[in-house]
């Protein structure tokens, strides 16, 4: 590794290559520190040219690598186990903003919320809004095909990416394009939608050097409601009824009592009622006309489903507070216990109420506290279990409970990830979800971009289930 480190230092400068184990400790994990592995070294290119040169040097050396943005991922996807960690957070130039075409071209290390702030003067925003948006990077969002509360109405990252310059693991630079900016999200140019395949490939297909994304006009009007319920079931039922009524809220989020308690104790206290079993945070936006009808309908459906009260945010400050509480809820779990696991299953919305009760029962059975905070409108669950990793017995119970919860979600017709990605954390569930043939097809697709399997090795598809992999003994991990 020493010769490679010297080469990389020559490209990016000595301060941007970390090789001492003590200096690499901070890069052992992402935001799910239950998974911790040591990179062999970390390299942090500061320009596009440096990035390409680094990728070529790695290819020449045949060394596997893992790209990392801000390390806010929740699946262990950006962990480099004894290989090179390619940190992209220094590539944070906003290259171009085109308010007329409503696009922006940015480098991968640009922070999601920074992009929105940069275009706010044009009354535009970047719609995908993962809860970590104040810290996470656009590059990471593309790798994970990140979602967020407002994806219910506006779609996930995939729907907002128009074009990307990608450095393939071989060091080759390619343009992936899905037609011009004015084309609708679903229209693609001739040929296969390779950009569509790339977005959400969890860093296994290459690295983004720059990306052009769609910007969304700020809605004319936004109304945010907070409904509080005496049971989680009635909040889940309200969710199903709102969607069934044909309303498309901009966001529809559910938080249970344990989550409310953590948030209300934090600097992000939003004024959620601490004695509620669950709250539903709903938002409608768009043209001012007709919006009040949606609000009245949501209010009525919540009350009919058993809401104790429905409150409407009366100014932007209150709206911001209600949202900050929701978005920082994951971080606030540190108040409950020192460690945390979080899952990301997606289930049919109609099964939500039953599933939430089953999840609660699984928690009780294993003597664990399950906190739920999730995108109810999408049926995208995020059960959080705070625990103490130093307690071996509790850790074992957490592991069992998570496995049971995931199995239950799969059995209900759900899937294992909505927006966090498979990474390392959900690898064990891939074989329960897909047939060997399907997993094989995924490996074949990967081979198109990364024939030597050097990009984010060991993630997404379990190595043992990839038959083609075994047929290529030369591949190194």
């Amino acid at each position: 590794m020493t010769a490679l480190a010297t080469t990389l230092e020559r490209i990016v400068g000595p301060t941007h290559v970390l090789a001492r184990p003590a200096s690499l400790l901070a890069y052992r994990s992402d935001a799910l520190p239950g998974h911790r592995v040591m990179p062999a070294l970390a390299v942090m290119p500061g320009t596009r040219e440096e990035l390409i040169a680094v990728m070529r040097a790695l290819a020449e050396d045949g060394t596997p690598y893992v790209a990392r943005g801000a390390g806010t991922g929740l699946s262990g996807g950006a962990l480099a186990d004894g290989v090179v960690l390619l940190a992209l957070h220094r590539l944070r130039r906003i290259i171009q903003i085109d308010p007329v075409a409503r696009t922006a071209t940015v480098e991968p290390g640009v922070v999601n919320a920074t992009l929105t702030r940069a275009v706010a003067a044009h009354r535009l925003h970047y719609a995908p809004d993962p809860s970590s948006q104040t810290a996470c990077t656009i590059g990471g969002n593309i790798a994970e095909n990140a979602g967020g509360p407002h994806c219910l109405k506006y779609g996930v990252t995939l729907n907002h990416v128009i074009r990307a310059t990608v450095v393939l693991p071989s060091g080759e630079v390619v343009q992936l394009d899905r037609g011009d900016a004015s084309a609708s999200a679903s229209a693609s140019s001739a040929g296969y939608d390779l950009l569509g395949a790339f977005v959400g490939s969890e860093g296994c297909f290459g690295v983004v050097a720059d990306v052009t994304v769609r910007l969304t006009p700020d809605p004319e009007r936004v109304i945010t409601l907070l409904a509080d319920f005496m049971s989680v079931r009635s909040a889940a039922n309200a969710t199903s009824r709102i969607i069934a009524a044909g309303i498309v809220p901009a966001a529809l989020e559910l938080m249970d009592q344990a989550t409310i308690e953590a948030v209300e104790s934090s600097v992000y206290a939003a004024g959620y009622p601490r004695d509620a079993a669950a709250v539903l945070l709903a938002e409608v936006d768009g043209a001012a006309a007709g919006l009040d009808d949606d609000v009245r309908a949501i209010e009525a459906l919540c009350l009919e489903s058993g809401a104790r009260s429905v409150r409407i945010a009366h100014d932007p400050a209150e709206r911001t507070r209600l949202w900050l509480g929701r978005k920082k809820a994951f971080g606030a779990m540190g108040r409950v216990a020192p460690h945390l696991v979080v899952q990301d299953a997606v289930v049919p919305r109609t099964a939500l109420a039953d599933l939430l009760e089953d999840i609660q029962a699984i928690g009780v059975k294993h003597r664990l506290r399950v906190c739920n905070v999730f995108h109810a409108g999408d049926g995208n669950l995020h059960p959080n279990i705070p625990y103490d990793a130093d307690d071996a017995d509790e850790s074992a119970r957490v592991h069992k409970a998570m496995k049971e919860i995931m199995t239950r979600c799969i059995d209900a017709g759900g899937t294992i990830t909505g927006e966090h990605g498979v990474g390392l954390d959900k690898l064990p569930y891939m074989e329960a979800l897909f047939t060997p043939d399907t997993l094989d097809a995924m490996c074949s697709l990967r081979s198109v971009f990364d024939p030597t399997r050097r990009s984010n090795p060991g993630k997404v598809v379990p190595v043992r289930s990839c038959r083609e992999w075994h047929a290529t003994p030369a591949a190194r991990v």
Binding site: H16, T72, T134, Y268, K328, F330, G331, G334
Partner: protein, 440 residues
């Protein structure tokens, strides 16, 4: 202060360990950290440093490791991360505990030791600051700042930026107010207030201290003195020398008890944050813990006291041109004391003034106590974006309520040849009162 090396298990860091467990590693602190943004290494971020603290406790890194020590040294202590942390990690406490732990293993840098020892001893501090005033008055500071290369010139530019035309005093009773309903303002007695005059404030910002007293008087506060007060000890506590900080704290507690004040007024955000934490600092000293808590509970920033009283709005002077003012929040006001609205209310009371927002006003300017003197290269990289945002704001005055920030931003503006000046909010209010009194 660099006594025998303590085993990690008995270190101040080990005592503060519970705070570390609160971190869930979410990374929401990264964009709030000026050194992460300036240095681009997660080891220079709050999340990274917390992880390194954990590794120190585990024994997986050595307290003698110079590279790791540098990451702790490079923390500004701005506590911007605390305002961003959903889990409430007490980062300020943890970094101080870490520094106190490391200080037993390796000496502080020479510059830091020198400055701290000067601040700990009045007989040393007074002549040093007096000499600084002479250099400033001679105009030499500004001259030297221009001649020297930027980094070496900065201390002189900082000094030059503290120069003021001496404001003539005025009788608080003669100040004409904007509202005619508010004529008997001197009759209201809000209570007795004693000012922590501070070391840097009283020497280099003498006028700000007088302005503080006058504006409080206009707003119904009766001033009283705490004669035997000393440095608040903030610089020492932040640098890893809590023992000297405790000695200074005890002297101050006794001095202010003598004064009979109802409230202890701060016009330096850094001192205010420290004084509020005397209870924590002396928690293990049974003779002083209760007295320290009582002291801490009486601490108020001057902007809080003024905002509580309105503040009283001075009458505008006809024909006076409008000034554009922006506000930069001192970290130790915004993050450590969570005081955000009162300084803006003080500025809102100024006649003929347009208040414009400053982007990233909650980000540190790089002053951070003596940080800019000990780590000028990092301080400079943190200051650059601040100066750029100030220029973009279009303001001609940037208001901020802390001597360190006034000098860091002021010095930066001097070096950049900018016509923008840095002023304490209280100075601006005082000048407006003075004009309203003179116009009588």
């Amino acid at each position: 202060m660099t006594g025998t090396a303590l085993p990690i298990a008995q270190s101040p860091l080990a005592e503060a360990r519970a705070g570390l467990d609160r971190c869930v590693h979410c990374g929401f602190c990264l964009p709030a950290c000026p050194t992460y943004l300036a240095l681009d290494d997660e080891n220079d971020s709050p999340r990274g440093r917390l992880l390194l603290m954990g590794a120190l406790l585990e024994g997986s890194i050595s307290p003698d490791d110079a590279t790791i020590g540098r990451h702790f040294d490079q923390c500004l202590g701005c506590r911007g991360c605390e305002s961003a942390c959903p889990s409430g990690v007490p980062y300020g406490e943890l970094i101080e505990a870490t520094r106190a732990t490391l200080a037993t293993h390796r000496p502080l840098p020479f510059v830091a030791r020198f400055i701290l020892s000067v601040f700990a001893e009045l007989w040393l501090l007074r002549p040093v600051l007096a000499a600084a005033r002479v250099v400033r008055a001679s105009g030499l500071a500004r001259l030297v700042a221009r001649v020297l290369p930027a980094r070496m010139g900065m201390p002189f530019a900082m000094l030059a930026s503290t120069a003021r035309r001496v404001a003539p005093g005025y009788d608080p009773a003669t100040v004409r107010l904007a509202s005619t309903d508010d004529t008997h303002h001197m009759d209201v007695h809000r209570g007795r207030a004693a000012l922590l005059t501070g070391c840097v404030m009283e020497s280099l910002f003498t006028d700000v201290n007088r302005a503080t007293e006058r504006t409080l008087a206009v707003n119904g506060w009766q001033l009283c003195e705490a004669g035997d007060q000393v440095c608040c000890g903030a610089l020492h506590a932040h640098a890893g020398d809590p023992e000297t900080a405790r000695t200074l704290a005890r002297t101050n507690i006794a001095a202010f008890e003598q004064s009979g004040a109802d409230v202890i007024v701060m016009n330096s955000a850094g001192c205010g944050a420290m004084c509020r934490e005397y209870g924590h600092l002396l928690a293990d000293d049974p003779a002083w813990a209760a007295r320290a808590n009582r002291f801490g509970a009486k601490v108020r920033d001057v902007s809080e006291l003024l905002a509580e009283a309105g503040p009283r709005q001075p009458a505008s002077v006809p024909g006076r041109a409008t000034t554009t003012v922006t506000y930069d929040a001192p970290c130790h006001l915004q993050h450590a004391q969570r005081i955000t609205a009162p300084p803006l209310r003080v500025l809102a009371a100024l006649p003929s003034t347009t208040l414009v927002p400053l982007t990233d006003s909650d980000q540190c300017c790089g002053s951070a106590g003596i940080f800019n003197l000990v780590r000028p290269e990092v301080a400079e990289r943190v200051l650059d974006p601040k100066l750029a945002r100030i220029a973009e704001s279009g303001a001609t005055v940037v208001a901020t309520g802390n001597p360190g920030c006034l000098m860091q931003i002021g010095g930066g503006l001097v070096l950049a040849g900018s016509s923008v000046v840095a002023r304490h909010p209280v100075e601006l209010l005082d000048m407006a009162y003075a004009r309203a009194a003179r116009a009588d």
